[in-house]
Amino acid sequence: MKRSYNTLILLTSVMLASLFTSSCKPGKVGASIDADAAQKVYVAPGKYDELYAFLSGGFSGQIAAYGLPSGRLLKVIPVFSQNPENGYGYTEETKPMLNTSHGFVPWDDSHHPELSKTNGEDDGRWIFINGNNTPRIARIDLATFKTAEILELPNIGGNHASPFCTENTEYVVGNTRFSQPLDYTKNDVPIDSYKENFKGAVSFVKVDKDKGTMNLAFQLIVPPFNYDLAHAGKGPSHDWIFFTCYNTEQAHTLLEVNASQRDKDYVMAVNWKKAEELIKAGKGTKIAAKYAHNVYNESTHMATSTMEKETQILDVTQFPGLVYYIPCPKSPHGVDVTPDGEYIVASGKLAAVIPVFSFKKMLDAIDKKQFEGKISGNLPVLKYEAVLHGEVKKPGLGPLHTEFDGKGFAYTTMFVSSEVVKWKIENLEIIDRIPSFYSPGHLCIPGGDSKKPYGKYLLSLNKITKDRYLPTGPELAQACQLIDISGNKMKLLLDFPTIGEPHYAQAIPAEKILKNQVKFFKLEDNKNPYVTRMEKDAKVVRTGSRVDVYMTAIRSHLAPDNIEGIKLGDDVYVHVTNLEQDWDVPHGFAIKGANNAELLIMPGETMTLKWNPERVGIVPFYCTDFCSALHQEMQGYFRVSTADSKVPLKFSIGNNPVTQ
């Protein structure tokens, strides 16, 4: 009796339990957080991070440098956007940096940081980044973390497939997301004449191997597709560069639907070496163009903007062997080349597989003419199967970008299923997957697109943040996750907020950049025409309605500090030289009511603020950077008089017993 009673209880419990579990929602897969995560990302006070990571600022137009593994923000480097914090794009010296053929464009949409490379490895000299909106490529000098050069690209719409570089930074490229008629052709055309009048233009920008200066060498005129991303070959594929293209339907309206019709779009393989030879042989056609070339000179601390007037093009349909198309499933986005240069991974963002192409097979297919069609009459489309190494099956949803760890594994972001997937290049088997929070776009493995990946870490650069951090109203911080990839299984280490938007990033061991760091600028090397090297040379000069103030800043005073005889209607140019010659002693300079920005002047540097006094009276100016114990004393006054006033120009500074 007792036994059957027990059985009854047991049966009832089992029934209840099964009812309970079956009505439960399936649990979410949690990220496996490394048990030692805190220790692995902790960088003790006063210690340096192992790596620098450069995250693009996306629509902020900047680049932000972070330390890894701590995720600490080190610096926001102003590139395409004005930065009132340090006067970039506001000072007379830096305004020319943001000049374009459209005039002054003080913002952009910066997507892809690209470290300069030597022998296919990141060399830590410069980092390039594209301006997507007003097509531009910028070069940042990593010795000073300053934008050194910005080159505009003519004939293209959105410079998205940019600024990916070849193995030795021979070229950085730019290609159009929005095909459009070339600038100096008949371009007032109906939009529905797209197929006939619109073109793509692949820009090859030559980079000087010592100085880094950029020049638009040539553009290849290609069919009017949307060009998305690119990566150059390396090692055996050194001469080639690969671009993804979507909208091969050539739609010009409701692309969401109309550009998603075909089963396969293309990876466009370009033999850049051959294009270079053709240009050398004089086969290029010179055409009129208008694009700004802005260069910052470190010895004058000034930028100049030159408007270029021509470029040369090669129409790819005229030169067989220059481009080949590889069919790729469903609107490919990222195209990435393995460290050995042999495999090309393309991610169809709407595809169910990740195709991996073999460079060797591509050359074979070209040799054997294994074509399945032609584009624009004579551009060969290679047979998919002939070029395919294999497909990664069921990787997840929405594959976007792939990077490599140098140990034979590839890591691909899945935008729709919000995860990172690790797979083996050799047999295309999926090894592991880890959730991302949320919807990753690019990912970054230090050196992950180079010949020698550093590996160890992976950054998942996400498009959606939601609940990851303390909320800040509707507009949230941007999200990024650091994942440990040193083991077989990926492990989540750290979640850190970033400035908007961490579109793509590149990271590099700190020592490659540390060794070149500039601590301050030498005053004796300052070639700025308005430099004031000694306090006794400080002066104020009037030329008509232009007033030039030659001012010096040193702890803890500005010289001169009392200036009279300024009149309404004057253009006052205040040229401030920071006389300090020591590490980390910047001075700021601000004028009450100035309509532009303040200055942040590094030791040995000269910066100019233009000021138009708009009312009569006394106007204070002061140092904005807390430079010393007597920083609050670092101030002065302008006296502004009426336009017809007879107040003489006068400037002074009280007797300073020590610095005389």
Binding site: Q581, W583, L630, V658
Partner: protein, 191 residues
């Protein structure tokens, strides 16, 4: 003189030549804001190191600007020291123990006068402060130590021989040893 003494004297005199190329003394400054430290190097003929930074900081306390031109010592010292070195070589050349004794005494005198002079300068710079200085601390002077360390407000000031000074000190020691071996180990000749 013995061969060993002569060799020691030659080595000593040659070591002294190094003073023309490397600094003799240095003053070191450490503060929380200067983890990398500041340094003023003193050579036979001038000053080097972070003089500008040190002057920049000194202006807060009203210390006089440190300029090599203000020290006439740097113009004469190279000659005086040259004469001393020459004396060393002559001592060996004419093999005179008497000259060795004179040489040693002049070396000691040189060192003593040098330190006295150094002390005077330190005293002057540390005490004669501009009354209009921004930072005035009651009863505070900023004289660095002659040798060793001393806390001056937020700075730890050190005053120590630099490589050149150590080499010259070493050569002084060699001279002393040679003198000692010449006279102590052969007492019968001491007349």
């Amino acid at each position: 003189m013995k061969l060993s003494s002569r060799i020691m004297i030659i080595i000593g005199a040659m070591l002294m030549i190094s003073a023309y190329f490397i600094p003799l003394w240095h003053i070191l400054l450490d503060a929380p804001q200067y983890p990398e430290g500041l340094e003023m190097k003193i050579s036979l003929n001038g000053l080097s190191g972070n003089i500008e930074q040190i002057n920049g900081l000194n202006h807060y306390i009203g210390m006089k600007f440190i300029k090599a031109d203000d020290f006439s010592e740097f113009k004469i010292l190279p000659y005086i020291f040259g004469l001393i070195i020459l004396t060393g070589f002559i001592t060996v050349f004419i093999n005179s123990r008497k000259l060795l004794r004179i040489w040693f005494i002049s070396l000691c005198l040189f060192a003593m006068l040098g330190f006295a002079d150094f002390y005077m300068w330190e005293y002057n710079y540390g005490h004669n402060l501009n009354p209009h200085a921004a930072i005035k601390v009651e009863g505070m002077n900023y004289q660095p130590p002659l040798v060793g360390y001393k806390q001056l407000l937020n700075f730890t000031a050190g005053s120590l021989p630099d490589t050149g000074g150590i080499l010259v000190g070493l050569s002084g020691l060699l001279v002393a040893v040679s003198l000692f071996s010449e006279f102590r180990l052969s007492p019968h000749k001491l007349k």
